[in-house]
């Protein structure tokens, strides 16, 4: 479904992604962890061409993102990206944030778009907040609206950048449930996070990104056994690392 083949990305002299290869299948949840500034968000942004790569190739559904004649609009509707800060459109209500792309990109009628959006709002427990504006929503609600906005376009791939950064433990469990629900619909997901508890609960496969290099690890290694690899991850519980060290 999503395939990165020897991807290299540089910003000036600095190599952010070095020969990164990764494949995520439909219904699979891949989690990428790594210290701040290790290139995790850049990795996500290359997948819908918000950033271009310097070498290698990226394929979605077997088709290269760098083939000639690629329709970027179509690609971006197929690859949903939920930002860490959500970036809802501040002049539109929560519901309009979802209906507007449906009307403009999917060419649905307003009534149909509203019906679809409201169905998703109900599914995500947002129906009573649909008329609220982004500045009236809590962090968790904003996050869910952002997920709904991407999901409404029926993407084949979802990219989530720190989806739990603004959430309390209770809402975190909710996001885990949402991620698993998306996976059961056959959506491939690539999630970047610092939150190891969330990562272990939501992911199928785990990757560490350090100094531009990506390596696959199991969840035990991710959560416990590589303190030097996890250096810089803010949410690693100190007690857990000490216990492992002991």
């Amino acid at each position: 479904m999503v395939e990165l083949i020897s991807v290299t990305k540089r910003f000036g002299e600095r190599t952010v992604l070095a020969d990164v290869s990764l494949a995520v299948q439909s219904g699979e949840v891949a989690i990428v962890c790594g210290p701040s500034g290790s290139g995790k968000s850049t990795l996500l942004r290359t997948l819908n061409r918000l950033e271009t790569i310097d070498a290698g190739d990226i394929r979605i559904d077997g088709q290269s993102l760098y083939r000639s004649g690629l329709d970027l609009r179509e690609l971006r509707a197929k690859v949903g990206l939920v930002f860490q800060q959500c970036h809802l459109f501040s002049h539109l209500s929560a519901l309009a944030n979802v209906t507007m792309p449906l009307v403009k990109v999917k060419r649905l009628g307003r009534g149909e778009a509203r019906a679809q959006a409201l169905a998703l709002f109900r599914q995500f427990g947002l129906e009573r907040r649909a008329d609220a504006f982004p500045d009236e929503l809590s962090g968790g609600e904003r996050q869910r609206v952002a997920i709904v906005r991407s999901l409404a376009l029926r993407p084949k791939v979802m990219l989530l950048d720190e989806p739990t950064s603004a959430l309390d433990w209770c809402l975190r469990a909710e996001v885990v449930a949402n991620v698993r629900a998306l996976a059961s619909r056959g959506i491939a997901q690539l999630i970047v996070t610092h939150d190891l508890d969330f990562a272990c609960a939501a992911g199928d496969r785990f990757f560490l990104l350090q100094e531009g290099r990506l390596r696959e690890v199991d969840n035990y290694t991710l959560a416990c056994c590589a303190p030097e690899a996890l250096r810089g991850l803010s949410s690693v519980p100190r007690g857990r690392l000490q216990a492992v060290a002991a």
Partner: protein
């Protein structure tokens, strides 16, 4: 010599008609040139922040040239010089057109105001967080849709106060059209002064009119700013429609 104010002269039908026509022409010049300059200025701003050098550099050049030229120059240019630059038949046709002075005045003020509007809108667009631009792209919107559905509405909210100031300024600038005999309010007061040798009464009425309209524009702008988008007709309509929809959903439960 002591001047005695005589308000009764303004009741004379021919002078009252001059003032009423003056108000009408002032409003036409101000409203149309403000509307045109908002569109033109926004287009220039989009060109100036666009990634394409072919759009950005000509727009930058034009704005930096045009904003250093006095407004009255544009009025004189479009009325006297512009017809001469056209082929002779077109120039004669323009000069023979009875509304040419009005049209030239509107075009001149539009061009003058658009450069400032462009700077204001550009500043607002650059203040939008990068993430919001990217969110618009990630939704699969075309560049045109990104601007019209997301970026311009957000920008306009940010720049409402300076745009309101500019609109008030452009409204007052409508008086520049008197130099090409557009029968707007300032021109009308001068006519009344020439006909009656009594200028103070008409000038005071005109001043009162300018101040009242400018104050009203200022109050309207502050209400827009304070009320955010819910007072904007388009967004308000969407909001109300969605509220209605949700009320119906709730009532069905």
């Amino acid at each position: 010599m002591r001047y005695e104010v005589d308000w009764s002269i303004l009741a004379r039908p021919e002078l009252a008609a001059l003032l009423i026509d003056g108000v009408r022409y002032t409003m036409i010049v101000a409203a149309v040139s403000t509307g045109v300059s908002l569109v033109l200025g926004t287009a220039l701003a989009i060109a100036r922040v666009s990634g394409s050098g072919w759009l950005r550099w000509p727009a930058e050049l034009w704005v930096n040239l045009a904003r250093h030229i006095p407004g009255v120059f544009w009025v004189l240019f479009f009325y006297f010089a512009f017809p001469e630059l056209l082929p002779a038949t077109w120039g004669s046709a323009l000069n023979g057109w009875t509304s040419f002075a009005l049209a030239a005045g509107i075009v001149a003020l539009s061009v003058d105001n658009a450069t400032y509007v462009s700077d204001i809108v550009r500043t607002g667009a650059l203040a939008i967080p990068r993430g919001e631009w990217e969110a618009a792209r990630c939704c699969g919107l075309s560049p045109w849709q990104q601007w019209t559905c997301c970026l311009i509405p957000v920008t306009l909210r940010t720049v409402t106060p300076p745009l309101a100031n500019r609109t008030i300024h452009n409204f007052k600038n409508s008086s520049l059209c008197m130099v090409i005999a557009v029968p707007e309010l300032t021109w009308a007061t001068q006519q009344i002064e020439s006909l009656t040798f009594r200028g103070i009464e008409a000038t005071l009425v005109a001043t009162l009119f300018y101040v009242t309209v400018a104050l009203a524009l200022g109050v309207w702008a502050r209400r827009l700013e304070r009320g955010g988008y819910r007072h904007w007709r388009g967004a308000g309509a969407v909001w109300r429609r969605e509220r209605g929809e949700l009320a119906r959903v709730d009532s069905r439960r």
